[in-house]
């Protein structure tokens, strides 16, 4: 599974994307796995209310299933316009 990070999430984790081997069922499961990895992940995912998630380039939420998903992206609330 491709996992992408944008804006300060990318900066905290220190990379824009990585391939993650996971059996996580939901986004929340994936977040828990990442948090266990290293301090920088725990820090980036410390406050989920400050984060958004997209599954295969569609906005989604942390309770969503990862079944069939190939690309997960984490980022702060968007500030376009």
């Amino acid at each position: 599974m491709q996992v992408l990070y944008f804006a300060w999430v990318r900066e905290r984790i220190g990379l824009p994307k990585e391939t993650v081997e996971t059996t996580a069922v939901t986004v929340m499961d994936l977040v828990e796995e990442l948090r266990q990895r290293e301090e920088r992940y725990a820090l980036a995912f410390s406050d989920l209310s400050a984060l958004r998630v997209a599954l295969d380039q569609e906005l989604s939420d942390f309770e969503a299933s990862l079944e069939g998903v190939r690309e997960v992206a984490f980022f702060p609330p968007m500030t376009g316009g």
Binding site: L4, F6, A7, W8, R10, A54, Q57, E58, L59, A73, F75, P76, P77, M78, T79, G80, G81
Partner: protein, 147 residues
């Protein structure tokens, strides 16, 4: 419908002229152009705009399509830049063409609200003191409830 995501500057005059041409049954054109403003202290040297290639185009197309579903529009234009911009540069524009004024105004306002909170762009201000990500405002999320 015309959706452009690009790092290059766009020509607001040429885009407006192009958008205004050749529509049948259009009585009203509205354009909105966003310009990079300096901060209050005047210390901003650049605004960096990060985006999510692939998702950006899909999100903008979805927002423009939603506008066309809600209002009777003859055409929609959305241009959004990414990369490094300096104060005074044009960052984005939307344009709507409709038979009537109300639809054109409302749809442009709607596009802007959705663009602000639903299109994957992130702004960072570079000042003489350092770099800072622009925080989303609660207002921006609230604004979506208008529609």
């Amino acid at each position: 419908m015309r959706i452009l995501v690009q790092s290059e500057p766009f020509d607001v005059g040429a885009e407006t002229a192009r958008f205004g041409k050749g529509h049948q049954n259009v009585g009203a054109l509205v354009t909105f152009t966003g310009i990079v403003r300096n901060n209050d202290a005047g210390t901003m040297t650049a605004m960096q705009i990060e985006h999510y290639p692939g998702m950006t185009e899909k999100a903008l197309t979805a927002i423009a399509t939603e506008a066309q579903t809600r209002w009777e529009l003859q055409d929609v234009l959305v241009i959004h830049r990414h990369g490094d911009l300096v104060p005074g540069e044009m960052i984005m524009m939307v344009a709507t063409a409709a038979r009537h004024r109300k639809a054109a105004f409302e749809a442009a306002d709607f596009l802007m609200d959705y663009l602000k909170s639903r299109a994957p762009f992130w702004k960072r201000e570079i000042t003489s003191e350092g770099a800072e990500w622009v925080a989303a405002k609660d207002d921006d999320e609230e604004a979506l409830k208008r529609w």
